[in-house]
Structure formats: structure tokens, C-alpha cells
């Protein structure tokens, strides 16, 4: 038999919808990215390596990856709690709080950055009290983490929430009947069921945080080696007319994003295979 590209179907519109999808993707996404990668590929390996492995750049990776990781972890923990609370408990103002979770999607990142620095600077509403505790947020690596936590917040909540809503109560009941206490049930039944969603949300928050620019530069301090994120370095390179250098670092970021997405999809594919009903 022939290796058909697709299985025949009576539902119409395959050609036109897939055609348009590929056309649009190609035009807006693939051709530009392809061109960009080609542009980078024109560099010699030595130049490329030098651009992406310079000490300052490496320091920025450390910050970007490190802060993104911490922010994504924070979101993982608190996002899971928020999702749990929103799904499982009733309390005053729940619907409003639930709605608010999407705010970071909708707020322009620059506005978020300005608002956050106003809030967390040592003169700010929150910063002044943190200052008393000896905690400096604005212009430190902590500030980067704060901004990245803000922008990644919806991802974990929004991926975990539906799964938690669909989570069969009977599983928890079965566990309780078998003698498990609440903590054991959480650890051995609920968390494993939420794990794929948690990881997906984590990876999305992480990927988004890696590339974030607008909100971070306001609160970061931008000191090379200390509070300078990789996207800022890309901008800096471009502004020094060093497009190849910027493109090289950009390529590293692009690949990191791509790998993360592949991981997410592999994870989803894996769970779909292993827990299909």
C-alpha cells in the first residue's frame, strides 16, 4: 500500500486549511527564521564560538538560565498552589482572582517592568519594607527573578488548572479508602497525575522567561557579569553594529527555545501514550 501523507477523510477543507497554515507559518515564521539561521551559518565556527562563549556572554547565560530557572520553579510551586486553591476551594473573590491570572499576558512588558521597579525599588511600596529585612530586590539578580516570575505566572496556573479540574476525584477517594492519609495521597496519586502539566507549565514559563526583555531591563540593574540578561546583550551587540555577534547569541537562544519546546511536546506525547484511558 502507498505511504499516504494523510488518511482520507470525508471532512472537507484539508487542502485549504493545511495549505494556508503552512503558507502563513512559512511566510511569517519559517522563512525569517531560516534566513536568520543561514545568516548565522555564514559566520566561521571560530567567530561563532567566540561570540557565544565570551565570558560576559556566558555570565549572562548563567543569569538568564539561572534566574529563569528560579522564576519557573517559583511559578511551579506557587502556580500549583494557586491552581489548587482556585480549583478546590471556595472563597470570597475567587472568580476575580482567577481572572487576574491572565494579567501578565495582557500587560505590556515595559509597563510591567516600570510597575515592578516602582514597587520593589528600595523607595517603593514593597521595597522599603524588604529593605528593612535586608532584602534588596530592584537592581539585583533577585529583581530579575521577580520580573521573570511575573511574566511566567500564567503558564503553570493555566496548564495545571484544567488538569486538576478533570482529575478524577475517585482516584483520591480510592487512595483514602486504601488507608492513605492526605499527604500520601498528594505525593503518590495527585502529584504524579499533575506532573506532565506541571512540567509543561514549568517549561513554558522557563522558555518565556529566557527570552524576556522589556520588563527585566527596568528592574535588573544591567551590570555586566552580574545583572545583565542575554537578550540585553543581544540588543547591545546589535547596537554596536555587531549583527553577527547578536545573531550568534540569538541563535543560541533560539535553539534553547526550540529544544525546550521539543521537550514539552515529547513529554506530552509520552504521557498521552502511557496514561491513555
Amino acid at each position: 500500500m502507498t505511504l499516504a501523507l494523510r488518511q482520507p477523510s470525508v471532512i472537507p477543507g484539508f487542502g485549504i486549511t493545511l495549505g494556508f497554515t503552512l503558507f502563513y507559518l512559512g511566510l511569517i515564521l519559517l522563512i525569517p527564521i531560516g534566513a536568520f539561521l543561514l545568516y548565522t551559518a555564514q559566520m566561521s565556527w571560530a567567530d561563532f564560538w567566540q561570540a557565544v562563549s565570551h565570558r560576559q556572554v556566558v555570565a549572562s547565560y548563567k543569569l538568564s538560565f539561572g534566574a529563569s530557572l528560579i522564576a519557573a520553579l517559583l511559578n511551579l510551586v506557587f502556580g500549583a498552589i494557586v491552581a489548587w486553591v482556585l480549583v478546590r476551594y471556595r472563597f470570597f473573590g475567587k472568580r476575580g482572582i482567577d481572572a487576574l491570572v491572565d494579567l501578565p499576558f495582557a500587560m505590556p512588558t515595559a509597563v510591567a517592568g516600570i510597575a515592578l521597579v516602582t514597587l520593589y525599588a528600595s523607595t517603593g511600596w514593597v521595597g522599603q519594607y524588604l529593605e528593612i529585612l535586608g532584602l534588596r530586590v530592584a537592581y539585583t539578580q533577585l529583581g530579575v527573578v521577580v520580573a521573570l516570575t511575573y511574566i511566567g505566572l500564567p503558564f503553570v496556573v493555566r496548564t495545571v488548572q484544567p488538569v486538576l479540574e478533570d482529575l478524577d476525584r475517585e482516584l483520591e477517594e480510592a487512595s483514602a479508602i486504601l488507608g492513605a492519609n492526605r499527604l500520601t495521597t498528594l505525593r503518590r496519586v495527585i502529584l504524579p497525575a499533575l506532573l506532565p502539566a506541571l512540567l509543561t507549565g514549568f517549561a513554558l514559563a522557563f522558555a518565556r522567561a529566557l527570552g524576556e526583555y522589556g520588563s527585566v531591563i527596568f528592574i535588573a540593574g544591567n551590570l555586566p557579569f552580574r545583572t545583565e540578561i542575554t537578550p540585553l546583550l543581544i540588543v547591545a551587540k546589535a547596537e554596536q553594529y555587531d549583527y553577527p555577534g547578536a545573531a550568534a547569541i540569538g541563535t543560541v537562544m533560539l535553539l534553547a527555545a526550540f529544544v525546550l519546546l521539543l521537550l514539552i511536546n515529547a513529554l506530552q506525547w509520552w504521557t498521552a501514550r502511557h496514561t491513555r484511558r
Binding site: 537592581y139 540593574g221 555586566p224 545583565e228 547591545a236 547596537e239 554596536q240 553594529y241
Partner: protein
């Protein structure tokens, strides 16, 4: 005659000045030629503005923070001839400025001159010279001062390094740095263009800041030029040229003074003498043998500034 539109691509601190100047020029030009002219403005960091023009932003004229950025228009895209700087008087800088030190009211840290900036107890705010044109002037001013004082490149290096070791926040552009110092109250001293320093004092908090003029500083020459390739294509050379030349006229010079730039016309500069104290000013050419040289030595990747950063952190 058909109305004409010019695009002036400039850097951040010139907004207020050009807002007034554009009206003055439009009136002047219409009176002279009967042609209406509208000038559109684009502001941003000097370097990024130059990059935009190189990448195709349709500027008729550029009015940037430093000659190096304008040189790039020639070097990278042949938009202007190499000798662009000789086409207008005073190195194509109709107004100048210098670098001063802005401190908080009462000067609590008692900052008098550049030397105080290397003190361990002083926090210095200045933007990142890699991304901010203005910040390069700051850097070079400090370097020049040290060179002058110690007569030794190595000493100068240490001096500048010690200043940057006191910098807690390195904003990408000058305006961001101003906000850091003023809004967020970070740092004890802000290295700023004289015009920016005045603006801060006037606009952001009268009585909250003081300007300290150092003993030696640099003559900041923000240059202007017509972007030949663009004006030729658009047929706007004439008004563009006039637009820049009018900057040297009395009206414009007074406006510059009003907006805290030092007019290049000595007579008008004198009118503002209460505002602009005498300082010993050196040019980039004096100290560094031109912008290209300064850039190559200090700011390019692997340059002195990178070494400083690497050493600090």
C-alpha cells in the same frame, strides 16, 4: 510649493530642544521660501538610532550624541561621505555640552571633583558606554581627567576602573540612568551631560539636586548631518540642509542655550554665562585622537572597557 516633510533622527536628551526648534525652523522656512515644512522626530539611544538609520530608517538628517555614531552611517552603509564632519562649522556641532556631576541636595557625600568618584563610599550612576552614546562621553571625561592628572595610561585605567566599580546600576541609555538616580534614588552622584543635569534639577526636583562642575571635563560635541543618500532619493536636500544650517543661526543658538546646551556662537554663549561656568574642556581629538580611535581602543569588544568590566566582576 509642495509641503515637505523631514525626518530628524536624534537621541534622547534633545527632545525638548528640537520641539521648539522645529517650529522656529518651519516658520523661518515658510517665510523664506513659502514652503511648508513638517519635521518628524525620532528619539532613542544614540547608537540604536544610528543603527536604525543604517538599517533603513528614512532619516533626512541625524542629530546624534557623538561623531562615532554618525561615522557609522558612512562606514556601514555609505549613506554619507567620509568627510561629513567638515561640511558644517564647528565639527558639525552647532551646540555642545560637557560632562558634569549631579549630586543630591546639600551634597551629602561632599563630592567636588572626579577624584571623589573613586571613593569606596560613593555610588556612581552612569549608563553603559557600550550601548549609550552619552555614557561614552562620561567615560572619556573621567579617563581624560585621570590622564591629565597622572599623565599615565595605566593610572587612568585604574582610575576609571575604580569609578565603574562603584556603579550599582548600568542602564542601557542615558534617560534610564537619570530615572534611576532621580526616581529610584539610587546612587550618590550621577555623571551626566550638563544639559541633562540642568533638566533634572529643573524638571524633576528643584532644590533636590546640585550640579558639581569638575575641574576638568570633556567638550561633548553632538554632531549633525544630512543623510545624503536619503535626501537625494527623496529630493529633500535643500530643506534638510537649511534645517541644519539654521541651527547655527541666532534663534537656534538661543534655543540651545535655553535648553542647557552650550551655544557654539560665542556671543550667545556669553548671554548664558551665569548658567555655564568656565571649565577646562578638552575635545575627544585632544585626548584620544578622534572618535574612531577612542571607540577602537575603549569600547569595541575586547577593548579597555571590557577589560575593566572583566576585572571588576
Amino acid at each position: 510649493q509642495q509641503a515637505v516633510t523631514l525626518l530628524n533622527v536624534s537621541y534622547d536628551p534633545t527632545r525638548e530642544f528640537y520641539r521648539e526648534y522645529n517650529n522656529a525652523f518651519a516658520a523661518h522656512w515658510e517665510a523664506e521660501t513659502g514652503q511648508r515644512v513638517t519635521v518628524r522626530m525620532s528619539h532613542g539611544g544614540s547608537g540604536s538610532q544610528a543603527r536604525s538609520v543604517i538599517d533603513g530608517l528614512d532619516a533626512d538628517v541625524v542629530t546624534l550624541a557623538l561623531a562615532y555614531d554618525v561615522d557609522a552611517l558612512h562606514d556601514r552603509a555609505q549613506l554619507i561621505p567620509e568627510d561629513w564632519q567638515t561640511r558644517l562649522p564647528q565639527n558639525s556641532s552647532p551646540y555642545t555640552s560637557t560632562i558634569v556631576l549631579l549630586v543630591r541636595a546639600g551634597n551629602p557625600k561632599n563630592i567636588r571633583d572626579w577624584d571623589d568618584l573613586v571613593r569606596k563610599d560613593v555610588q556612581v550612576i552612569t549608563p553603559n558606554p557600550k550601548t549609550s552614546g552619552g555614557a561614552r562621553w562620561n567615560y572619556l571625561a573621567a579617563w581624560g581627567y585621570a590622564l591629565e592628572k597622572y599623565g599615565d595610561e595605566a593610572k587612568a585605567y585604574e582610575f576609571v576602573r575604580d569609578i565603574y566599580a562603584n556603579v550599582p546600576v548600568l542602564d542601557p541609555a542615558a534617560r534610564g540612568a537619570t530615572n534611576t538616580f532621580v526616581q529610584r534614588r539610587i546612587g550618590d552622584v550621577f555623571i551626566a551631560w550638563e544639559n541633562e543635569a540642568f533638566l533634572s534639577v529643573e524638571q524633576l526636583g528643584r532644590g533636590q539636586y546640585e550640579i558639581v562642575v569638575p575641574s576638568v571635563s570633556i567638550l561633548a560635541e553632538p554632531p549633525v548631518t544630512v543623510v545624503d543618500r536619503n535626501v537625494d532619493r527623496k529630493g529633500t536636500r535643500e530643506p534638510a540642509q537649511a534645517y541644519l544650517e539654521f541651527l547655527y543661526g541666532e534663534t537656534a543658538q538661543r534655543l540651545a542655550g535655553k535648553h542647557y546646551y552650550r551655544p557654539s556662537n560665542p556671543g550667545i554663549l556669553a548671554e548664558f554665562s551665569d548658567r555655564f561656568p568656565e571649565v577646562k574642556l578638552h575635545t575627544v581629538d585632544d585626548w584620544f585622537g578622534g572618535w574612531r580611535n577612542a571607540q577602537d581602543t575603549h569600547f569595541n569588544d575586547g577593548g579597555v572597557f571590557d577589560r575593566i568590566l572583566a576585572e571588576i566582576h
